[in-house]
Homo-oligomer: 174 residues x 2
DNA sequence: GTCTATAGGGAGATAGAC
DNA sequence: GTCTATCTCCCTATAGAC
């Protein structure tokens, strides 16, 4: 789903990949949209968990932001995968409100978390040039997702790194 | 293609939309990938033409950047369309090198143009806080495409505007 | 919970008349 | 260059045995 898009793979693809039959997948996820919803729900739950883990072990805004950038970098694979929320955005006409709701939750959780991170970075001086944490948060999510697209199109993590460099350059050196 | 993705529409959809038969479309574009290539080529040619038009009629970096942001904003429709290059990124495994080449050309033309715009904005002081035009250019393209995704997911141009606000706030008022 | 078998439809694509 | 007709294949999805 993250490398070919929602319409780019079939139950037959999954079946042969995991060594099971199509009908067995339909037992767990009757319709394909059920599978999309389940993955998006899990993706969102993972986000909550991992952002909590970052908050627990990193204390400065700069350090927290650095780890979130790293998470996006890792999620890109070798330039062959996208954030699930990005991948599903293109096919969103195919989904009902439950999937859309999950995607909106994912985005608002991301932006809210980033806003608090920029607020911290402003307070503890671990991120430079922060004037408006709310605007920074929305811009930052756009940069991370846009950098994913750059890396994906060119099949190169380097393009991701280049696109987020303006961001990483603002993190205080330790 | 820009609202449902490459795999999200069929020749039958096109045929009924324009009042023609599937076979007639196949006469012009034998395989679906031919259609994808043709659209991407046209999209890229349009970019060249429109950036030239911006250069011809706007002289400051800030004014030029403002018009490119406006172009992306308009391209979003009412939050139901994406940049073609963004939409095809997800399905890029389905394409051969010719389409990928066109997408890479599109991106490098965008970034090169943006770099020169930031250089101008630095020189004529029409864009504030420019330290590294090359990094600004790559970040800017990411923001524009990421802002598209934000607007698309929420079906709202307002989300686009919010995501690019950090950028528009840097443009000198006149 | 997984299997075989199959339904039912729509996909991309082609042949050949006009 | 557009049409009708059709091909072949694969899609999502279901029925029912084990």
């Amino acid at each position: 789903m993250r490398s070919r898009g929602f319409d780019g793979f079939s139950y037959a693809d999954l079946a042969s990949a995991i060594g099971i039959r199509k009908a067995s997948i339909h037992y767990h996820f009757p319709r394909k949209s059920d599978l999309g919803l389940a993955l998006m729900q899990r993706y969102r739950a993972d986000l909550d968990q991992q952002l909590d883990a970052i908050d627990a072990s990193s204390k400065t805004g700069g350090e927290r932001l650095k780890r979130q950038i790293r998470r996006y970098r890792d999620a890109l694979g070798v330039g062959d995968r996208l954030c699930l929320c990005v991948a599903l955005s293109i096919s969103s006409e195919a989904f009902d409100d439950t999937v859309t709701h999950e995607m909106l939750s994912f985005r608002s959780r991301s932006v809210d978390w980033l806003r608090s991170v920029f607020e911290q970075g402003l307070a503890d001086q671990s991120i430079s040039n922060v004037a408006d944490p709310a605007a920074e948060a929305m811009s930052c999510l756009a940069v991370l997702e846009g950098a994913h697209l750059a890396g994906r199109t060119q099949g190169s993590v380097m393009r991701f790194d280049e696109a987020v460099r303006l961001l990483t350059d603002r993190l205080a050196q330790r």
